[in-house]
Symmetry: C2
Subunit: 475 residues, 2 copies
């Protein structure tokens, strides 16, 4: 049956979530594997989502006073050794250029896995006085981390991201920036990606190599696993001391500055897929959907149908809606399946009988609901329906997530919780040993520390709890 | 004298054009040198120009049916050997990754100098039938070509660019695309960068390694040298045969496709600097200027001045003008010099006496003219002045260029022409030997072939001319 075509295309989401993910990624034209192991090609449909993410996020960075710049991709290997924790964290993943222009290089060059070191080196040249502060710069770039196990969008050797790098005169200002950008990420995730996120500080074990403190946002995927979707790092004076980022303060004294960095990547596309997708495939939030509406003519050759479709398309485009008219030779049923798999938020069906009755049919992808709409009101109805879908997708993702946050008092509780696909809140004494034991026993990791202490004892050792922590299995 | 501060900042444009260029690049905050030889950091003021270029160009690509995608940066070295001319042209400039993740790689990987090979490899997987054609994809990316002599924006080991890669069923369609995109570039150069360009076919010697034919656009810099500012390549079946890009045609026969590629880069920022700049520094066309107008308060502490400045700023922003209010402690004279050096198209001076008289002063950077403007008409006057500046900059650049195109009948004429800073049109028999001799004798190269034959004999050998060619010294 044509209507069930999607079953042939993608694996059962309930039975095999990882295969479902891979199928959705590949069969909707989001991505393909590159010729080198661990690399991906972001195809036009996937890249259009990234462009929408970039546009929305870039506007937020600029509204908070940041400017974009571009730093070289190749970093002298010696830069990495200047910050001890940083090199330990990143050296094992680095790709190295040893030859160029037909010659062996005097010093091997790393392809940036992240740019704190090379940007720090430039900031030390640029920064003179307190008048130059704060420095608020963001970079959109490709980075490379050589990973053993890779999956499209989630973990590939090369990926696209943005990395903010800021410099401040005081600890307070730098910490304020760190928290502010975490807030920008959270607002973006909720209002653009329609993904509710848990934000908080990371444990020492999970923090960024070289940071004083890392704050992260975690998103729940439909299999109950967590996806780290953005991080904001307070770097203290670690990098300013390693790279000599100093300034002459108002009081005439030379001081080391305080720096931050924060980043999000094409991984967010993976978050969108796994937070919203269903048995039929992708479900895209209108704000990032490459096409927000698809018009499907029914009995296209009947008089007036194509003209009406074209007219609706023109009017929707004028109203700023990204819309496609599927005028191919495929059957309407085939088109329904195809565009549902591709996650287009709203479908407009235009048939001769509908037209005679002065109406069209609207279908919303998120709830699979159909409704009638007066032909003359199509544009305003679609525009408000898109707003409604955007809002409802966030709310239903939030409801799904809240239902799957449980609390536990011991390691067994954490294990049964995560095995049932939950995020589990539990008490933690704060020591690395107990954190490691939870990982061993449950394969769950500390995602973020809760703002408020809600447990009396550590779930592992039974000593007084210092923090409540969200534990989950994670991508 | 404060008014002449700019003389201290940048070298004399007449006496030392190369040093003037370097000074302008560095002292206006466009760019800085990276730590690795031959690399550049594009600073916020420079990157903002690139963002404006990207936005304008991307809209044109989309309007002509292209979509963006992203392909991996690392290319197996073996890919390069598949197209003989291509490997010969690019192998000497390639940077090579030999180690990654702590291990030596089985096959060394090239950092893309251009992406025909890796994109061709993917297209061969994606393309099945004539129904899949044309494939119209563009990529915004960084590329790397290891150059011996480097200069900011003009020639650096890493640079940012866009590369279009398209696939077509027939030779005619592919050639049509090649020419169409050259036209898009030309329209962009003229209407956005305000740079008149000469477009035409390149000689065999100057064409892209692997192309059947290359078409280029050449811009005249203020020193009379030419800057290749964009190229569009008809690749015929060279890459489709090397990478097996085939399709099942309507007639049921498997056929090799025809491909094109076309690119422009951050080099265009260099073109803007050298086509429009003057003794005071940058002169930016409004469409790419990071700030289109600067408001300078005179006697800022006098009642009402800052309020009036702020009010003008708010209104200009609402009208879509990119505007900055310089409310620093520096003197007005210092600010004038600074923003003139940075090439801001229009300056608005707001002083207490002007305000009393109900007016402001406007200064246009391109012609250095000042004019009065009624306070209440500031916004509309600035908006129309910006349009006027944009138009006039193109026209005066065109007049400058046309004055410096001369014709010659022999090699001596070419030599004296280029030494006087001209582009020289001359006849050419079409043989490589004569082209080489002109290079030897004059240090000028064939930039593009003229559309019409305008000479009877070759300037070198005196045999019948096959083409008229623009010769110039080039960057």
């Amino acid at each position: 049956m044509a209507k069930d075509n999607f079953v042939e295309n993608i694996a059962d989401i309930e039975a095999d979530f990882p295969q479902w993910y891979t199928d959705v990624c590949k069969k909707t034209g989001l991505v393909d594997y590159g010729p080198v192991k661990g690399t991906m090609v972001i195809r036009p449909y996937g890249y259009a989502i990234w462009e929408n993410i970039q546009r929305e996020m870039d506007a937020r960075f600029k509204a908070t006073g940041h400017k974009n710049a571009y730093f070289p991709m190749l970093i002298p290997m010696s830069f990495f050794t200047k910050e001890a924790e940083h090199v330990e964290g990143f050296a094992p993943e680095v790709a190295v250029v040893t030859h160029a222009g037909g010659e062996e290089l005097a010093e091997p060059l790393a392809i940036r896995p992240t740019s704190e070191t090379i940007i720090g080196n430039m900031y030390s040249k640029w920064l003179q006085s307190y008048r130059d502060l704060p420095i608020l710069i963001n970079q959109w770039a490709n980075v490379m981390r050589w990973e053993k196990t890779t999956r499209p969008f989630l973990r590939t050797s090369e990926f696209l991201w943005q990395e903010g790098h800021t410099v401040h005169a005081t600890e307070e200002e730098a910490m304020e920036e760190t928290i502010k950008m975490l807030g920008v990420y959270k607002e973006f995730a909720e209002n653009v990606l329609a993904i509710p996120v848990l934000c908080g500080r990371k444990t020492e074990k999970e923090k960024f190599a070289g940071a004083v403190a890392t704050f992260g946002m975690e998103a729940m995927m439909k299999d109950g696993k967590s996806l780290q979707s953005g991080t904001s790092h307070y770097l203290g004076q670690n990098f300013s001391k390693a790279f000599d980022i100093k300034f002459l303060d108002k009081d005439g004294v030379q001081k080391y500055a305080y720096t931050t960095s924060w980043g999000t990547s094409t991984r967010m596309i993976g978050a969108v897929i796994m937070a919203h997708g269903d048995a039929r495939g992708l479900v895209l939030p209108p704000k990032v959907a490459p096409e927000q509406a698809v018009i499907v003519p029914i009995a296209a050759k009947k008089g007036g149908v194509m003209e009406a479709c074209q007219d609706i398309k023109t009017k929707l485009e004028k109203a700023g809606v990204r819309v496609v008219l599927d005028d191919t030779d495929n059957s309407p049923g085939w088109k329904f399946n195809e565009w549902e798999m591709k996650g287009v938020p709203v479908r407009i069906e235009v048939g001769p009988r509908d037209l005679e009755a002065g109406k069209v049919m609207l279908f919303r992808r998120d709830t699979l609901e159909k409704s009638e709409c007066a032909l003359g009101a199509t544009v305003e109805t679609v525009v408000s329906l898109l707003e409604c879908v955007q809002r409802d997708m966030l709310e239903s993702a939030r409801a799904r997530r809240d239902e799957k946050i449980v609390s536990a008092n011991d390691a067994e509780g954490i294990l049964s919780g995560v095995e049932a696909g939950n995020f589990v809140k539990a008490g933690w004494c704060g020591c690395r040993d107990c954190e490691d034991k939870i990982k061993e026993k449950t394969n769950a990791t500390a995602r973020v520390i809760c703002d408020k202490l809600q447990h009396e004892v550590c779930a592992v050792c039974g000593k007084p709890a210092k923090h409540s922590v969200y534990f989950a299995r994670a991508y």
